[in-house]
């Protein structure tokens, strides 16, 4: 029972981070700032949801697979963020200034 509450907490918090990521994508002014919002909040959101789900699964194999999925998304997210940022700069996109 108590595990259910904890895992529900993690999943709901994760969903909140996904909302933050989407809002950041819609509200932030340029590519670089949107990259910030996307990579950070999405990875945290997915991580929290995966922790919440890992508390519920019955075999360690499934838990390990969930962790592996998170690891892949983390790797891909960070790598792609850096690639897009560096290409944006090479193509001459100026960062937004206040």
């Amino acid at each position: 029972m108590i595990i259910d509450v904890i895992s529900a907490f993690f999943i709901l918090l994760g969903a909140l981070f996904f909302l933050a990521g989407t809002l950041g994508l819609l509200r932030f002014p340029d590519v670089y700032t949107r990259l910030h919002a996307l990579t950070k909040s999405d990875n945290v959101g997915l991580g929290l949801i995966i922790i919440g789900l890992m508390l519920q699964v019955d075999s360690w194999l499934v838990a390990a697979k969930l962790l592996f999925i998170w690891f892949l998304v983390l790797l891909a997210g960070a790598g792609v963020a850096h690639l897009i940022a560096s290409t944006a700069q090479k193509r001459g996109l100026k960062p937004w200034k206040k």
Binding site: L19, L26, Q56, V80, I84
Partner: protein, 89 residues
């Protein structure tokens, strides 16, 4: 518990649809690509929740493929499709 999983999956679908605004309105190609990236990550979370709620372990494998593919399309985009500045203006 299952109701919670499904409700959160529905919520994620809604944020995903909201993120589509960025694909439609750009303004730069990178912004559209980023939105597609977000689409991938959100769909991974959505699939994992569905897999738990509907007790279909196969969905985890699909989530795995989604996680890998997001990187493939983004790299194809950065390496090939992003037009050089000199071509654009």
């Amino acid at each position: 518990m299952n109701t919670l999983y499904l409700a959160v999956a529905l919520f994620l679908l809604l944020t995903l649809i909201a993120g589509m605004w960025r694909i439609l309105h750009g303004p730069t190609p990178a912004d559209r690509m980023l939105a597609a990236q977000l689409f991938g990550t959100t769909a991974v979370a959505c699939l994992l929740l569905l897999s738990q709620a509907l007790e279909q372990p196969a969905l985890r494998d699909i989530a795995l493929v989604f996680a890998l593919l997001a990187a493939v399309t983004a790299i194809a985009f950065v390496k090939r499709a992003w037009l050089k500045k000199s071509d654009e203006s």
